[in-house]
């Protein structure tokens, strides 16, 4: 399909439509993959680029975590949203793809702190910022592009394929990391193997660029351009005019903020909770989340399609309500599966293993591994590392037996179902809220504030709430009944406010914009 001749969406064949969806989805999936591998490999990247004993490197590390994930994404939405409304969707999201792929590949090439010193963390931070900017511009472009091809009344279904990409991107990143780690071995992976997932990105991006280059500009934008109705100043039109700004605020407080916290709780906080509060070991915890993500992914399309028939609002708000009501019982059950105080140990089966290793500085490190086996098959390992020149280090890990493993998968799966309910219809919802001439700019900002800021801060705010509750419990024992559940108040509160605003102020019918 070539040419930029304006055509109506109704005239687009199914074959073309699925080419458009494939081109957009593959690129967006790769962008999410690129974005997530940085987070998933944070511990290794930290040891390679951000040594904790160097205060400047530590500051850059923290900035890389916060700035790129949260602050820069809305800026990317503004920069690339404006560009997309001025020059077109196709070229803008080609630029974001090149930026994302290039910066990810480059991270894989940067020598470690031990080789080039301060430049290493600085370069990583800069490239991470480029990643954040690119991500801020990508999603709005892809969603707008597909929606502007989709026939009237089917936008929910067709844009829901774009919605699968964030979850699939996380799944692919976990999969690539696990496969590389298992293939190369833990030591080689920590040494140089972690670079493989970053370097692999360039191949994926190259394929995606070739596919996207063959696509034409969106029919609605082409029509607008041929009629000379393209916005002269999308930022001023989007946020300087009350008629549009009020819809941006409604989208943020009535939908995307709640969607963002449900999304991050169901996927990232769940993983963090499994690893940190439940202490489930690395491979098993990633397997749990990966299986749940894969099993629930088709539901994005189911709920996206359903939203064309029964309305976007009812599905999104139902997802929020389910999260609000059930998060605490779900997380309580997750915790109880690994709560060793409720388990009975087979004391005779306990083993203790000691290993002695000579370190580079001449010191001797003793590693003591105590393995506890419980009656239901759960295995708990305490690994204590002691050396004369360093503080003793104790790490605990738990491996679940089959029954508990699948129950944990189910509990995460249920949360990802909520994610599919709030996230499946939201692209169509946002696209329909704004007119074509300023759509890219207007929809990108509330989406990235909702997801990047409200959602992205979920793990940090939740962890801070748990820490506060734990401290209170230490000061006055029993003052907080279940401190490990306190972190859930943040997503519950944000989703509750969003639910109330959504139910009162949003219309369940499709919003029809002036020029569509």
């Amino acid at each position: 399909m070539t040419g930029s001749k304006a055509r109506s969406p109704q005239a687009v064949s199914n074959r073309t439509l699925f080419s458009v969806i494939s081109a957009s989805s593959v690129g967006t999936l790769i962008e999410w993959y690129d974005f997530y591998i940085f987070g998933s490999l944070a511990a290794i990247l930290s040891s390679q680029f951000f040594p904790k004993d160097n205060p400047t490197a530590a500051l850059l590390s923290t900035l890389a975590t916060f700035a790129a994930g949260f602050v820069v994404r809305p800026f990317g939405a503004l920069v690339f949203g404006r560009l997309g409304d001025l020059v077109g969707r196709k070229y803008t999201f080609l630029v974001t793809l090149v930026l994302m792929g290039g910066s990810t590949f480059a991270i894989g090439l940067i020598p470690g702190y031990a080789t080039i010193g301060f430049w290493a963390p600085l370069l990583v931070l800069l490239l991470r910022l480029v990643q954040g900017l690119a991500l801020g511009g990508e999603y709005g472009g892809a969603a707008t592009y597909v929606a502007e091809y989709a026939p009237e009344g089917r936008r929910g279904y067709y844009t829901s394929f774009i919605q699968t990409t964030a979850t699939l991107g996380l799944f692919v990143s976990l999969g690539v990391i696990l496969i590389t780690r298992e293939t190369l071995g833990v030591d080689t992976f920590s040494d140089w193997g972690w670079r493989v997932p970053f370097l692999l990105s360039i191949l994926l991006v190259a394929v995606s660029i070739v596919i996207r280059l063959r696509m034409a500009e969106s029919p609605l934008f082409s029509k607008l351009k041929s009629e000379g109705k393209v916005s002269k100043n999308p930022l001023a039109e989007s946020f300087g005019k009350k008629q549009n700004l009020k819809m941006v605020l409604l989208a943020l407080f009535g939908a995307t903020a709640g969607q963002g916290v449900i999304w991050y709780t169901g996927q990232f906080y769940a993983l963090s909770f499994i690893q940190k509060a439940c202490n489930i070991e690395f491979v098993q915890s990633n397997m749990i989340v990966a299986i749940a993500l894969l099993a629930a992914t088709p539901l994005f399309v189911v709920f996206g399609g359903l939203s064309d028939r029964i309305g976007r609002k009812s599905i999104m708000l139902a997802g929020m309500l389910l999260g609000i009501v059930t998060y605490r019982p779900i997380y309580d059950k997750m915790y109880s599966l690994t709560d060793l105080s409720k388990q009975q140990e087979v004391v005779d089966a306990r083993t203790i293993d000691r290993k002695q290793v000579k370190l580079g500085n001449g010191d001797t490190q003793i590693t003591t591994t105590t393995t506890h086996i419980y009656t239901d098959g759960l295995i708990a390992k305490d690994v204590e590392k002691t050396a004369t020149s360093a503080k003793p280090e104790l790490t605990k890990s738990v491996t679940l037996p089959d029954g508990s493993f699948w129950l944990m998968v189910l509990l995460v799966f249920v949360q990802v179902v909520y994610v599919t309910m709030v996230y499946g219809p939201i692209a169509a919802f946002l696209v329909e809220l704004f007119p074509t001439r300023i759509r890219y700019t207007s929809m990108s900002l509330p989406y990235h504030i909702g997801n990047g800021i409200f959602g992205g801060l979920t793990p940090f705010i939740a962890t801070a709430l748990v820490a506060t509750a734990t401290k209170a419990n230490q000061a006055v024992p029993g003052s907080v009944a279940k401190p490990y559940l306190e972190g859930l108040w943040y997503p519950i509160l944000v989703a509750s406010i969003c639910f109330i605003i959504g139910i009162l102020y949003l219309n369940n019918k499709k919003y029809t914009t002036a020029d569509d």
Binding site: F253, K313, I453, L457, L504, Y505, N507, N508
Partner: protein, 89 residues
């Protein structure tokens, strides 16, 4: 005689007039919520900024300079628009 109309798609079919009034007067709640969140987040983030932990300090600045202005400004403006009847159907 007052005619009672019902809105399509409402989870609970309320009479339109009462619904519009509720949406309007709740504007005050959103403005007050914005003010409260502003007070709460500013005091909390100032505590974090004073923390010896680097991560807490950066987190405090992010909350103070990014999250708080968006939530406070956004909720107050949203409340004002609601009060002005901008979201009437």
């Amino acid at each position: 005689m007052t005619r009672v109309k019902f809105r399509y798609g409402q989870a609970v079919a309320w009479p339109i007039q009462e619904m519009e009034l509720l949406k309007k007067y709740l504007g005050v709640v959103w403005i007050l919520l914005g003010v409260y969140v502003g007070y709460d987040r500013i005091t909390d983030s100032l505590t974090k900024i004073g923390s010896p932990q680097l991560e807490d300090r950066v987190f405090g600045w992010v909350v103070l300079l990014v999250l708080t202005p968006i939530v406070v400004g956004g909720l107050i403006l949203f409340g004002k628009y609601a009060l002005d009847g901008e979201y009437d159907s």
